[in-house]
Symmetry: C2
Subunit: 454 residues, 2 copies
């Protein structure tokens, strides 16, 4: 029988951050991580191993073993197959029994299998799991293809399409409006133009009904539900992920909508001394408090840090107020960021909003070399002015600008607060102080009340 | 006699933002701007007209006339020479009398004349005023020089040195530790290496006692107070600015330390219906509440927006809690940002602080092309964990990362709040979710209390 103070099941970012944080806060406790696969990928880096930016999948590997050793945690290659929350033991596939004082479940997510697509298990059809061996083999095979069809217009589908195209392949992208959960239609349309200019063919609004196979059962095309067919050498199904929670369900933990593990504000499950963090744990939206299927390594690691801080006692009261669903991505040399709720989604949820869009050059004067247009959309509660969503498009600094907007949303700042916001502006780094788009957009929203007569 | 509802004295960013905001909030009111010079420069763009990035000073001009026309404000080429706050009239140099209902003073700042440097008014010696005609002539003359000595190691001095060097000139930089008011010694030292690698000669710690002149009175060198002399073809005195407040003082407005105009939280002076914004108005520090000589276009425009919103009634209660002194700049391809108080300054002011520094690659995996090291230093109140200062060094996204840290400081967030901070991370745009440096630095600070035993 193996025994440790803190046992962590999983091997992704949340598990590794939980292990590191546990060692930092509780140096006298023993920490063990049960990890199913030998090594790990940087999950959000997977699309980039298919393009010219990385040389091979090995460039995207996380040296988990080295990290664990450095942190002073034990890392075991083991699959957990049962949790007895009453006796506080975990059974491994190897037959070993692991006794724990505190357990953190960080089993992540796995690709959703689209049962409605016939032949989805044909040869030449790939998912995008966070499994190094699968991705290594997939990478080898996709490298040899000339034409690839990608089903799914979420982040992973679009990013892989972008990379495969940059690697010189013919790429077909099948799905609905681009990134429709994170961006409003006008932003998707702008992204659509960039995708089109790259020569990626987007079959928008088509639904894939079947993988077309040859006599040997190999994928050679796609069939849409209107009967139309397209040819390809291989198919990538980027059709989303589902929480990897069979183990938790089987072990009697209370589950929530979308097969997620119920957790409270401190990431505690219903079983004593059992915590869950990351994609496998329930996510509630910061604005609506509804359960939503947002899966983000950054949210997962935040949850890991919160869980570990509160492992032996609640030390950070009211730790986590829900996910703000904060994303960024790149198409060509244009960067996109989104945080909070979209205008479309707000209206669906009957949230009364006002919006403003401001477009400015991202350097000043605009004649400086490398100046890029920067567009900011703010979505605020109409009555109170509280900022509840933001979308930004522009150059590489969009990556941190959306994080700035995330901090604004998390602090429940209003457009009135933003009027006096102090920002550093610099000719080579930002728009002008007079036109800084977050402030100008806030002012345009504040003007609705501030320009009204008494 | 000329008459307008809202009269603005000045022509810089604060004046133009005040005019535009006034038109937006009070479309029925007439707005007049009295501007001394015909056209305007982007103030922070001035260093870049000396380098290869802009073709000429004209690239840095603000089309104030067009802007005013577009906003529906009257822009008059006029110098205000007296304010009668009792009769509510301003006298212009032209002899015209301007009646106002509300007056906004935005007279900005002018270069400080270093009286302790002999011959500072010699031919070939230049200041860096925000005066288009002066800068045009200066630009012509500096273009022809081979060796330029720059006195002053603040932002303007360093940025002009950088640009003149990029334009192929021999550059000597004279002054103390680089940007010592905004960065701690270790950051200055790093910047020093970049300055040195560019071939700029920094005479650190030397004090300039005189401009050396030839028989015709032209500057041909500098003399330091240790007697040492260096030769040059011209001198730029980047020795700081002073508030341009003679008019306000003569008009009987209450003044504060450093010759600034006293203003309250709503930018109101002691005279009824008279507001002051920008470099001419008193600045109090967000953390210490002491008067400090920070001059920033972004703070000036924030003050302009606050003043105009509160012009006829206080509509934004507790509008402005002091300047957080937020700056960014670039040396070579490395970007620097600072917000709040430095560790050195905090200690001088007897603030009990704890600090943490984290360095990570700014893309993930780090093997992605264009990856740059990113360093974040956080300065927090030791007892409460409230973040009171931050310094960052890295790639171009530092410009918005320091703004994100500014929002964190303005919201009085603690390192404990930052543990659950949600950020968007993306391989091409940011560091990894597991290593995002603001969060990791916060965790290292939080660990001081969270890892302590009960």
């Amino acid at each position: 029988m193996h025994s440790s103070d803190i046992l962590i099941i999983g091997g992704g970012p949340a598990a590794m951050v939980a292990a590191g944080t546990a060692r930092q806060y509780y140096p006298e406790k023993s920490v063990t991580v049960l990890k199913k696969t030998e090594d790990s990928l940087v999950p959000c880096g997977i699309p980039y191993i298919f393009g010219p930016l990385l040389d091979s999948p090995e460039d995207d590997m996380i040296p988990c073993g080295d990290m664990a050793k450095k942190m002073g945690t034990e890392l075991l290659h083991e699959e957990a197959i049962a949790i007895d929350t009453a006796s506080k033991i975990v059974t491994g596939k190897s037959g070993e029994i692991y006794r724990y004082d505190k357990l953190i479940i960080a089993t992540g997510s796995v690709p959703k299998v689209p049962e409605n697509i016939a032949n989805h298990d044909a040869e030449g059809v790939f998912f995008v799991p966070k499994d190094p061996d699968y991705i290594r083999k997939m990478h080898e095979k996709v490298k040899g293809m000339k034409t690839v069809a990608i089903v799914g217009t979420g982040f992973i589908g679009i990013e892989i399409a972008n990379e495969l195209r940059d690697a010189g392949k013919e790429v077909a992208l099948i799905g609905s409006r681009l990134l429709k959960h994170s961006f409003d239609p006008e932003v998707s349309e702008y992204m659509e133009k960039l995708i089109d200019a790259k020569g990626i063919v987007h079959y928008q609004g088509r639904r894939t009904s079947a993988i077309v196979t040859d006599a040997s059962g190999r994928a050679v095309g796609l069939r849409f539900d209107n009967g139309e067919e397209i040819a390809c050498d291989g198919v990538i199904l980027a059709t989303g992920y589902r929480p990897n929670t069979e183990l938790a369900r089987r072990s009697g933990l209370s589950m929530r909508q979308g097969d997620t593990i119920y957790v409270d504000e401190y990431m505690r499950t219903t079983a004593p001394d059992v915590f869950a963090v990351g994609d496998c744990a329930e996510k509630r939206h910061f604005i609506t408090k509804r359960t939503i299927p947002v899966m983000l390594a950054s949210t997962a690691t935040a949850e890991a840090r919160i869980a570990v801080a509160n492992l032996y006692a609640i030390r950070l009261v009211k730790s986590f107020s829900g996910t703000i669903a904060i994303f960024s991505t790149v198409v060509g040399d244009t960067c996109f960021g989104s945080a909070g709720i979209t205008e479309e989604d707000a209206k669906k949820q009957r949230i009364d909003v006002a919006t403003a869009v401001v477009k400015v050059p991202d350097k000043h004067p605009a004649k400086l070399p490398g100046s890029h247009e920067q567009a900011v959309k703010l979505i605020a509660s109409r009555a109170t002015g509280q900022l509840i969503g933001a979308q930004v498009v522009g150059g590489i600094d969009i990556g941190e600008m959306i994080n700035m907007l995330g901090v604004i949303i998390e602090n429940r700042m209003t457009v009135y607060d933003l009027l006096g916001l102090q920002v550093a502006t610099h000719p080579l780094l930002t728009s002008a102080p007079t036109t800084y788009p977050i402030i100008v957009a806030a002012q345009n929203l504040a003007a609705r009340t501030l320009s009204a007569k008494e």
